[in-house]
């Protein structure tokens, strides 16, 4: 009785969408533990917690923010490839404010506002003009870095403003970016799961026409989603630039849009829209970051990171693919059948 109940819980957990991403994450952390037993250790040093896990959380914070934005955009069959450029713009804008001795609040507000503006531009193109999401955001992807360079005049801005740097490097027991990420996760969870917006998003993602007939103003919703995505990218830009104490128009947030898309897909959200999994995305982002950290920590040259990432991503996506799993199953069955036959003979 007890056993079947346990089995029931397990099968329920197994069928949950978060199972595979979580397994991947646990696997990679376990591998880390095998390679370096001190990996899981968390120490207390002058009021801060230190350890590889905390480090992963800290570094994953911007990625989590962007991936969350990307999740809701992908849920309505969209995509936002401009987030990397938006990060660069927001980083450059806020750094410009700081460098010209503006107040920190203004810098943060400016960065967020610019992110929101970029998101609204994307949303306007996609929702109201009806451009395909990929093309619509491609514009900002290309122009964005140009604009960022225009703002900084092609220079890399560095700054030493203590209170602004606190945003990216500060500690309150755990790093500040982690608090920001947790806050955003909670807000997103509340907005997407406790209000009707999440339902609207899934309805639009499954069938936009049908959702329109059922009275959802899909344009407004899609516009809002892109705006949110831009806002989150702006926030990530603030964290990144205050973390490295400089704003580089060319390199800030480069490749991050790709990492974000990977996190979303690993998290179980389909690129064809519909159901979306915020928890899965967070796990996916953590997975990508732990993968990077692992590769660095086991002494593989950083150049190989990309190759390993590619292989892992393809493996994970294959495992998630129902067709591949079916194929494995039939193979197993075939071999079982053959084994039985042999045994009979």
């Amino acid at each position: 009785m007890e056993r079947s109940k346990l089995k029931n819980i397990f099968s329920k957990f197994y069928s949950m969408s978060i199972f595979w991403p979580l397994m991947c994450l646990i696997c990679i952390i376990f591998i880390d533990f095998l390679i370096n037993p001190g990996f899981l250790k968390i120490e207390m040093k002058d009021g801060h917690l230190f350890g590889s896990l905390i480090d992963i959380l800290n570094r994953a914070a911007p990625l989590i923010l962007i991936s969350l934005g990307m999740t809701i955009v992908i849920a309505v069959q969209g995509i936002d490839i401009s987030v990397g450029s938006v990060i660069a713009i927001s980083a450059c804008v806020s750094a410009t404010v700081i460098v010209s001795n503006g107040p920190v609040i203004l810098a943060i507000a400016a960065g967020l506002f610019v992110g929101l503006l970029c998101g609204m531009w994307n949303g306007f193109l996609v929702a109201y003009i009806g451009v395909q999401p990929m093309v619509g955001t491609l514009i900002l992807y290309i122009v964005g870095r140009g604009i960022a360079q225009l703002i900084t005049d092609g220079k890399i801005l560095t700054f030493t403003n203590k209170s602004f740097i606190f945003l990216g490097t500060g500690y309150l027991l755990i790093p500040i970016p982690v608090y920001i990420a947790i806050a955003v996760i909670l807000v997103m969870y509340f907005v997407m799961r406790k209000t009707s917006l999440g339902l609207f998003v899934e309805a639009i993602g499954v069938n936009r026409e049908a959702s329109r007939f059922s009275g959802i103003n899909s344009r407004k919703v899609i516009f809002a989603l892109y705006a949110i995505c831009g806002l989150l990218a702006g926030l990530a830009g603030l964290i990144i630039c205050s973390n490295i104490k400089s704003a580089d128009a060319n390199n800030a947030g480069q490749w991050l849009e790709l990492d974000a898309i990977l996190s979303v897909v690993i998290g179980g959200t389909s690129m064809s829209g519909g159901r979306f999994y915020l928890g899965g995305t967070v796990i996916g982002a953590l997975f990508i970051q732990s993968l990077t950290t692992t590769i660095y920590s086991i002494g593989v040259p950083p150049e190989v990171t990309l190759v390993v990432k590619a292989i892992v991503v393809i493996t994970v996506v294959l495992i998630q693919s129902p067709i591949f799993r079916k194929m494995l199953k039939t193979n197993n069955m075939l071999s079982n059948y053959k084994a039985k036959k042999v045994a009979k003979i």
């Binding site: 003009i129 093309v135 290309i142 092609g154 393809i314 996506v317």
Partner: protein, 334 residues
């Protein structure tokens, strides 16, 4: 798409081609502006240089067109160029026969593309994810060969690089240009006049209908990525000959340039609409913008990005207007 099959009817503008005509007109206008503003702009050499500098991009954009026409995408092209440049530079350094190097590199591209196509088709994975992984893989592998840039001093490659074919008016083109033009011509032929090409359009129009029509959807979809892989490796080869170096950072983010060229050249990213000649003009238009900014002299290079982005916006708006007008016409008929 059905319009393409109907017979060519005089000089009537075909809806699907408006965007290409617009690109060509824009190209001429931009070139005209340059000719009026700058003394040495209106020469055949400046025009030929557009081809010389962008030959590799034209080839890559043609490959990308095939992938986009089926409604897919290939993000691995830029990384593939770096990978190819790295392999050929490394092999040449070790003294391998250049002909073997060229064949080997093209084979690598073909296999790479086929594997991507297989993964996309067989396991119904999203092209974005697969080619993204392909991009990571190709770029990472080129770093595996070497982190530093390798220069090529092989006599065959250097002579290919400096080979200039005179085309009259005291100007000349490079061997790369000839190859890229051949690729464009072949691609136009394939898309217009072969079964494979028509299937590509059919899949882009509606994959399920294509399947129900009994077209070889699976085979075509894999072959499209094979072709794209081949084009990107050929483009990589052209780029290697053009720059005479192998480097893992070559063409960083260039896949987006190729996609932008396709969009400016009238290829709809949802698939099914476009031609192989459009992307060439897309590439040339961005090339003209670049040379305009170069001739101007005081503007910074980032203005190129902004200008290309603006252009993209204009063309996307144009495409939307066409689509909306078509939709309206259809509703009137029904």
């Amino acid at each position: 798409m059905s319009e393409k099959i109907t017979k060519f009817s005089g000089f009537k503008l075909k809806q699907a081609n408006i965007s290409i005509y617009a690109t060509i007109i824009l190209f001429i206008i931009l070139f005209g502006i340059g000719s009026i503003m700058y003394d040495n702009f209106f020469t055949t050499q400046v025009f030929a240089n557009l081809f010389i500098d962008n030959a590799y991009l034209i080839v890559v954009a043609v490959g990308e067109t095939f992938a986009i026409l089926t409604g897919g995408i290939d993000l691995s092209v830029g990384a593939m160029i770096a990978f190819v440049s790295m392999i050929s530079a490394d092999l040449l350094r070790k003294g391998v026969n250049p002909v073997i190097v060229i064949i080997f590199v093209l084979l690598v591209g073909i296999i790479f593309g086929t594997v991507q196509g297989f993964l996309i088709q067989k396991f119904k994975l999203h092209p974005w994810i697969v080619t993204l992984a392909g991009m990571f893989f190709a770029r990472g592998s080129s770093y595996l060969i070497s982190i530093n840039s390798i220069t090529i001093d092989n006599p065959t490659f250097t002579s290919l690089s400096s080979l200039r074919i005179p085309i009259g008016f005291e100007s000349h083109i490079s061997a790369n240009v000839v190859i890229s033009l051949i690729v464009v011509a072949v691609a136009v032929y394939i898309l217009k006049f072969t079964k494979f090409g028509r299937t590509v359009y059919a899949i882009g129009g509606n994959e399920n209908s294509a399947m129900l029509m009994g077209l070889p959807v699976a085979k075509t979809k894999i072959l499209v990525y094979t072709f794209s892989g081949f084009c990107s490796s050929l483009g990589g080869l052209l780029f290697t000959i053009y720059t005479l170096s192998g480097y893992g950072l070559h063409c960083n983010g260039m896949e987006m340039d190729a996609i932008a060229a396709c969009v400016i050249g009238g290829v709809l990213l949802t698939g099914g609409v476009g031609s192989a000649i459009g992307p060439m003009f897309g590439v040339l238009t961005t090339g003209v913008i670049q040379s305009l900014i170069m001739f101007q002299g005081t503007l910074n290079s980032w203005w190129t990005k902004i200008a290309v982005g603006m252009l993209l916006f204009i063309f996307i708006a144009l495409q939307r207007i066409i689509v909306i007008r078509n939709a309206k016409r259809k509703t009137v008929i029904s």
